[in-house]
Symmetry: C2
Subunit: 329 residues, 2 copies
């Protein structure tokens, strides 16, 4: 797949006001100082009650729109790419549309979900819509509140997750192209990483205790790491082959920040200079689906996405899925 | 927008085993017989505990795959288009992939959400992916269990909703084209139709009473009808103009079955022979996002989608959104 050209016209992000250091987190949950930090993270942000998913997503989108020098009314589509929605009905995208002052505009607003990798099919959808002449200016946002569902009895889960939002503004025309985009899903591993309460299957009125227990995110960290790591090298090879790009030709690498261990594994698998990887894990943690577009925003703000250079977006998610895209800017 | 050709290679649906007649429903909730039926519905199906969203979606997908004379391993992408997911993490599509015996295949599985209109952006995504040469065979499924969240204290909500699933198998090549596809979202009306519990905003551990109350679908039926009806004629005109098709050139009309009143309004707005509208509302009710692909499946099974004829997919959803697509077969 090679799409027509597009431009990354703007980026934006939103970080919740409240910083929680790893030592504070340990104290709060009665653990020895240094426990959380041993997972490679010094602090994370937690959203306050007023910092809802749609509020944060809209703030990030507003910044991306301003960065693109658009006005909100220039936006022709709003695509949500959250890992978990703010509420089941309606989705997060219509709520973001309302926050942006576009609630009477008719601008299409819908959501795409591949848990932590939601940004990838959302980007595919946006770029395909542009390639087919349907839209000229699209905003993709992702906002996630991991802190709503952390099981602090699981030290790794407690340590690694944080909240945040990011957005990108994508415009028709220009030289950027998706050289390859790939998602591989392995549903047999679906139970390794799950949040079960909050859909059609579990009913809060039927089994309150069970519902409450299932309202916490459950992760079998080591099994999950193994399930993705053993498939990762072949996945990466297929993605790069599809793009016709060698690993050492890659410029900036824009990962999903699953964990410090996952980032170290990524660095080993790709090889070369580790500084190519946008790694903000120590300061922000795993922010579910908002991490990848936030890393993309960071790379752009740092002037790393030079015309003609090639970036790799890459990561794994619940599903279990492996996903990536190769973009030539 | 005009995409390259595709083929609707197969369709399938799944209807839950349990039939609940309108009189049974009235008796169950202490209402005079005839109350539910006055909403234009004689019966609906309710899913049993084993008929989860992913189970039903997979059954419908299996039938669509068989109807297309594919094997499951021929499928190159699985796109979920449910109104409400089975659980937040992972999404419904990876669970369906597992049910289909493809859980170790790597076939990409992700979800698209525009509440009752989810099928439209999912179809756009599938057809764009085919047009860009990414996939040759895609399954889209939708499964919804409205009965998980019905407020039976609201007679209209109690009467009109039912459960079900449907799927389509879409293949590259062939003569079918999407002549136009349009989604208009009006987020200012988001509160007219909502299901608030089950995402990042409401926490079951913080306010149990509030959470339980918010676990029921809330609809301001008349205000919702007005909000969509007043925008519908102009929306329809824009959609048909984009397609270059006049209302009287339309063959089969494939609606979202919102309510008997909404279907009557649709018939008036489009004019012509009402029998063009695939209307199974009286037997199955409003099945959220699964209704539109089910109507498409029904039309195809009845031999209505003749080569060269033109269909209109059309409806409204929470959001509030209006959506439609014009397809030349």
């Amino acid at each position: 797949m090679e799409t027509l050209g597009f431009t990354l016209a703007g980026v934006g992000s939103y970080e919740p006001r409240t910083i929680v250091t790893s030592d504070e987190l340990d104290a709060r949950h009665g653990r020895p100082a240094g426990t959380a930090a041993s997972h490679g993270i010094g602090q994370r942000r937690y959203a306050a009650a007023d910092e809802t998913s749609s509020f944060m997503g809209a703030e990030a989108a507003r910044r991306a729109i301003a960065d693109a020098r658009w006005k909100p009314c220039d936006v022709e589509a709003i695509i949500g790419a959250c890992g978990v929605m703010e509420q089941p009905i309606p989705g997060t995208a219509p709520l973001v549309q309302r926050w942006l002052g576009l609630g009477d505009s008719g601008v299409p607003a819908f959501d795409v979900n591949a848990t932590c990798l939601s940004f990838l099919p959302a980007l595919d959808h946006a770029v395909a819509g542009i390639a087919l002449g349907r839209w000229r200016r699209v905003v993709i946002f992702a906002a996630d509140i991991a802190s709503a569902a952390i099981d602090h009895g699981d030290v790794e889960s407690s340590a690694i997750f944080g909240d945040g939002a990011a957005a990108v503004a994508i415009e028709a025309g220009g030289t950027s192209r998706i050289l390859a985009s790939r998602l591989e899903t392995y549903g047999n591993e679906a139970d390794l990483c799950r949040l079960e309460a909050g859909g059609t299957r579990l009913r809060p009125g039927e089994d309150w205790e069970g519902f409450l227990a299932s309202s916490l995110f459950q992760m079998q960290g080591m099994a999950l790491f193994k399930a993705t790591a053993r498939r990762f090298p072949a996945f990466l090879a297929r993605l790069l082959a599809e793009a016709g790009v060698a690993a050492d030709e890659l410029g900036t690498i824009i990962p999903h920040h699953a964990s410090a261990a996952a980032l170290a594994h990524l660095a080993r698998a790709i090889g070369g200079d580790r500084r190519r990887i946008v790694d903000v894990f120590a300061n922000l943690g795993n922010r579910i689906a908002s991490g990848m577009p936030h890393a993309l925003a960071t790379a752009r703000e740092q002037g790393q996405l030079l015309r003609g250079s090639t970036s790799l977006l890459i990561g794994s998610s619940a599903g279990v899925s492996l996903g990536g895209a190769v973009i030539r800017w």
